[in-house]
Symmetry: C2
Subunit: 321 residues, 2 copies
């Protein structure tokens, strides 16, 4: 009587972690599959891997990335390894979170290097789907939209960006079905948006935030740092410098956001070749501006160094500073 949708998806493959199997697609792509890390390029493959982990009673952690991995990503992988039994890392440069004038086409792609790094970390599953696998219709027609938060900070500078982020993260949560997912505090606005989505839509996944990992001179690690020439690389330190200046004033007792912002902006005034996008002090959960810091606040900065847009941030806490 009732008809099951023709859209019903069936599992096409199962495998055991104890006995890694070659997958048709990964093999046909000429990807090397070593012992220990399964490489999946289709939703059904990675679903089978997740099912297998769950069937063995293992806790599954997901680290969603866009590849071009650095120590920041690897810190997420290590956190996932600590808290979970099986770690899945996704590598997908998600087109729907890039604006039409942004760096989608030049975003660094280095799959073989990434694969080796993840293998060394003991990652069990690497999910590296094609754009066609994720968006068979050529793009998204269903969007997950977090109102309000998505228009603040980077969302204001990059219209539509967070809509792309929440949509791909929702899809990855449904495909991989992790118990926990790991995100960097470096993308503080993204983190707030994803936490709000998880709460609002009752996703059953634990969101874990990991601290910013920095280069020895303090620059926050980012795949986009690769765009910087040596001169720009030097100038890029202004981001962290501005945050530190504001932090110093905060530690000296200043609680008025406008004054802390001024002190940060002054640091940018000394680096006229860097274009400040925003320097804001906001509530870390709602991303709304705060006037006076009474408890916790996020200082977030974004700036263009040459044509490269970089972000950084720092959380201020009254009482612990």
């Amino acid at each position: 009587m009732c008809s099951s949708a023709k859209l019903h998806k069936t599992r096409v493959e199962t495998f055991s972690f104890a006995r890694p199997a070659k997958t048709g697609r990964a093999a046909s792509l000429g990807r090397l599959q070593l012992d220990g890390m399964k490489i999946c390029s289709t939703n059904s493959e990675v679903r089978a891997a997740s099912d297998d982990a769950r069937a063995q009673g293992k806790r599954l952690g997901l680290v969603p990335t866009m590849g071009a991995l650095h120590e920041g990503h690897l810190s997420l992988v290590r956190a996932a390894r600590e808290q979970c039994d099986v770690v899945t890392v996704s590598i997908f440069v998600n087109p729907t979170q890039f604006g039409p004038t942004e760096d989608l086409s030049k975003y660094p792609r280095q799959f073989e290097r990434d694969r080796q790094l993840l293998e060394k970390e003991g990652v069990e599953v690497l999910f590296a789907p094609s754009v066609e696998e994720i968006y068979p219709a050529g793009g998204a027609t269903t969007w997950v939209v977090v109102e309000g938060l998505s228009e603040r900070l980077d969302g204001r500078s990059r219209p539509g960006h967070f809509r792309g982020v929440t949509t791909i993260v929702a899809k990855l949560f449904h495909i991989v079905e992790p118990e926990a997912a790991f995100f960097g505090q470096k993308d503080a606005a993204q983190l707030a948006v994803i936490r709000r989505m998880v709460l609002d839509l009752n996703f059953r996944v634990r969101i874990v935030a990991c601290p910013i990992v920095r280069e020895p001179d303090g620059l926050a690690m980012s795949s986009r740092n690769a765009y910087l020439n040596p001169e720009e690389r030097g100038r890029a330190l202004v981001l962290q410098g501005s945050l530190q200046r504001a932090q110093q004033r905060f530690r000296a007792g200043e609680r008025i956001a406008a004054r802390l912002i001024s002190s940060g902006q002054e640091v940018f005034a000394g680096e006229p070749l860097v274009g400040l996008d925003y320097f804001e002090i906001v509530d870390p959960d709602t991303l709304e501006s705060v006037e006076r810091i009474s408890e916790r606040a996020l200082i977030a900065v974004a700036a263009y160094v040459g044509s490269t847009r970089l972000i950084d941030n720092l959380v201020l806490e009254v009482g612990t500073e």
Copy 2:
């Protein structure tokens, strides 16, 4: 190092189907809890029920409703019973799918009668949350939006309606985590929108569509039929009459949509006290208008009988008519 979100939700209760437990909230609401059907009013209660079913290897079916149950709903429950081991029915009059001038406040609510009907059908779990449980912030801040489809048919007449539907259905899928969910073909546009959402966002749930259930005289069953006075009840037959007229012409060989539409509209011309909202012939999956029926097409109609908006539809298939 990494901090788990404070939003992380923990399970607060477990129970066994074999030994129904009293839930604090349901009991405090004065709801009678009989053997066999567990009544849950919180997300964590119904999640515990789903977990328990899964732990016992049972297939879980969800029938989302807004209550005011009739034989149409019960046909969904019976289909779920046939295809699944444990059936959860949700009753929630979802405010976010009603427009500001629509019938949210007067929508029929008859919990005790619904409860008895579901108990008789052998339903295992009844999920009847409050608005505050589902929208603790007072309304939705995260939306699931299916572009395109959501603006067609009822979506055009009821702006924002399908955004509310997809958002609540996504939430229910995350809260209950069913293997299959059952919807009525009566809401054909809703069905297309939900199927598109499930496909686009990789939800792991099978969508099952069940045929329209009709009164003896042909009127499609609807909770809103209760609004009709006897005179309106008679006039309401024009909806099915118009569909049948078009179907007759289709069976006689007519394939041009515009001509079939005219024949349906003519039936409305004979019932001037009923206000036609739309009479359309569309692709059942995309809801886009078709000019000529080559395979399958949906004829869908919506009309105001007094102040009551009713819908009905019929699928035409070349070769099987």
